[in-house]
């Protein structure tokens, strides 16, 4: 057992080091693809907390991504610091998750999926039509924050900053999942009625999970704004939620780190395939179909060689 864990830890360390050193080996475009994968990976992992562990499939997770992204977009030009870059977006997204979660948790199953979708679409409509938020073209010209007095304008510096945050988020989620709180969530996922009967305030746990996931999604959104330097309403679109959903499933639901792998697979497929052929949609679609039929545990499941769930 110990050797197994050590091997896994070693693999993770090697992988992280490879990611950290990537800018030294590759050109700017591949590095930027990797950075985007990290950002979407955080987004996907936060969704996996909801989906894979608490069993709440949300189709409106883009709402929090968008809230974080727009909060950063509005604050950074005036206050280019970590408060505006990370704290404010997380808080704003968390508040949004509190409100939306409070209403959405009253329903479950498909209805939960659709209600969360409705809320994120409402945000989309508002952002799309509001001049202060840049209307359909969104906000542009957003500067990166100064981190402890240093600029992160260069690709290398931003890479270090982003990787650092990604590691912190991943570790945080890993701890949450392993904590008593995480175990209760899993219990709720498996048998909500039983947990209720035993006396757990199920809805409060679900809401807490929803808020935590929302805050991390907000951080991802803010990082995206910092990465591109602009944001548009498409951050709120249901297809953004859908893509995160796909990333979680591709990577392996309930595996947490599968989120990053799924993000990688999706973004690489989307960007690289379309550079080579016009039929990229067909290839992407067929890949999903074949993945489901022959690799049911997602990438992580396939790596483990079994129909696996659970981190």
């Amino acid at each position: 057992m110990n050797g197994h864990v050590l091997a896994r830890a070693a693999a993770l360390i090697v992988l992280t080091a490879a990611v950290a050193l990537f800018p030294l080996a590759a050109g700017t475009y591949p590095v930027k693809l990797l950075q985007e994968i990290l950002i979407w990976g955080i987004f996907a992992m936060s969704l996996d907390l909801l989906m894979g562990f608490a069993g709440m499939v949300s189709f409106g997770h883009s709402a929090f991504f968008g809230i974080g992204a727009y909060t950063a977009a509005l604050l950074l030009p005036k206050f280019p610091g970590l408060l505006a870059a990370l704290v404010a977006p997380a808080v704003a997204a968390g508040l949004g998750a509190l409100v939306i979660g409070f209403f959405s948790i009253r329903v479950s199953g498909v209805y939960f999926i659709m209600l969360t979708l409705a809320f994120s679409q409402m945000f989309y409509a508002v952002a799309f039509q509001n001049a202060f938020l840049g209307a359909e073209d969104g906000l542009v010209g957003i500067p990166r924050p100064a981190v402890l007095g240093l600029s992160i304008g260069s690709t290398g510096a931003f890479h270090a900053y982003l990787l650092g945050i990604a590691i912190v988020c991943a570790l945080f989620l890993w701890r949450v999942v392993r904590s008593p709180f995480g175990h209760v969530l899993r219990g709720i996922h498996e048998n909500e009625a039983r947990m209720q009967a035993v006396g757990y305030p199920v809805n409060r746990y679900k809401l807490a999970a929803f808020v935590i996931a929302g805050m991390l999604a907000g951080v991802a959104g803010s990082l995206y704004t910092q990465f591109v330097g602009s944001i548009s309403p498409s951050a709120f679109l249901w297809t953004t939620s859908g893509e995160a959903l796909l990333m979680v499933i591709i990577g392996g639901t309930g595996t947490l780190f599968g989120g990053i792998l799924g993000a990688g697979a999706f973004i690489l497929l989307q960007s690289l395939v379309s550079s080579y052929t016009e039929r990229w949609m067909l290839i992407l679609g067929l890949t999903f179909v074949l993945l489901v039929l022959f690799a049911p545990g997602g990438i992580v499941g396939a790596l483990r060689g079994r129909v696996g769930l659970r981190a």
Binding site: V57, V107, M114, F119, L284
Partner: protein, 287 residues
């Protein structure tokens, strides 16, 4: 007053279109418990099949009859090959697979028919507008209303009053028991799925003269269809009709009276309904 009636008539025609679009989805969703995100793709295939049939025969009515059959066959094939292995697995796998199918169908359609915007021409019989008690409405929309309501009645009769309907209902309620009674349950499921796809294809042809056909239409029609199904309650034919008529009126009057809110209306309606009745208007109460 004439204004109100005219808009109400508009709302009815839109609502009926929504019903035709969503009834197949509620059948599949509610009865087979399958998340079929590719439902909009069958709608799209119906529209394009209709386009080709009209181009080949010049006859809208022939297209209306044949296109759904073609789409039904496609649906049956998909069910047999891709979905049957997934019944045992959770909804997430079905989400990923049917999402993949959306991409596949969209690209295939683009490959075969090209990416230009197309449209089904209005059938000669209903090419003009008529005056109904002061309200001017295209005669084609009156046809849609009549056709849609007739379809609702026909479906109800089939499901509630025929042996086939009984078998379907039984198979959905308890598939093992039904299989035990000597009925090929797999064939029933394939039939229901094909039927749902055919209904979607039918609505694609019907909506054709009013709307346009373009490869991404399958993805964009998905959300309104899902919303109607959810508002009405999964698996309920009554709910599908009630939900679509409600949303039809809400959307129409919202567009007429609340400019600027038109993007939001359908979501607000759904949110309100779900918060008051979490299982939809006529859905079975969830545990």
């Amino acid at each position: 007053m004439g204004d109100l009636f005219a808009q109400a008539l508009n709302g009815l025609s839109y609502g009926v279109l929504l019903f035709l679009l969503s009834v197949g989805l509620t059948l599949i969703f509610g009865m087979l418990d399958v998340v079929n995100l590719a439902h909009g793709s069958y709608y799209m295939l119906g529209a394009y099949a209709g386009l080709s049939l009209i181009a080949a025969t010049g006859n809208f009515w022939l297209a209306l009859g044949l296109a759904p059959l073609a789409v039904g066959v496609v649906g049956a094939v998909v069910e047999r090959t891709c979905l049957r292995p997934l019944y045992r697995r959770g909804p997430l796998d079905q989400v990923l697979l049917t999402f993949g199918l959306i991409y596949v169908f969209e690209d295939l359609v683009k490959w075969i028919w090209g990416g230009r915007i197309r449209s089904i021409p209005t059938p000669e019989l209903f090419a003009s507008s008529v005056n109904v008690w002061g309200a001017v409405i295209p005669s084609y929309r009156l046809f849609v209303i009549g056709f849609g309501l007739a379809m609702a009645v026909a479906l109800w009769l089939v499901i509630e009053r025929t042996r086939l309907g009984a078998i379907i209902r039984a198979g959905v309620y308890d598939s093992e028991m039904t299989a035990g009674m000597g009925i090929n349950i797999h064939r029933v499921f394939t039939l229901v799925f094909a039927f749902g796809a055919a209904l979607a294809g039918l609505s694609g042809v019907i909506a054709g003269p009013i709307q346009s056909a373009y490869p991404p239409m399958g993805a964009s029609i998905l959300i309104p269809a899902l919303i109607v199904v959810v508002v009405g309650g999964l698996g309920s034919l009554k709910g599908s009709l009630a939900g679509s008529l409600l949303i039809g009126q809400a959307e129409t009057f919202g567009k007429a009276w609340l400019p600027g809110a038109s993007m939001l209306i359908i979501y607000v309606v759904m949110a309100v309904v779900l918060l008051v009745r979490p299982q939809g208007l006529f859905g079975r109460a969830l545990k």
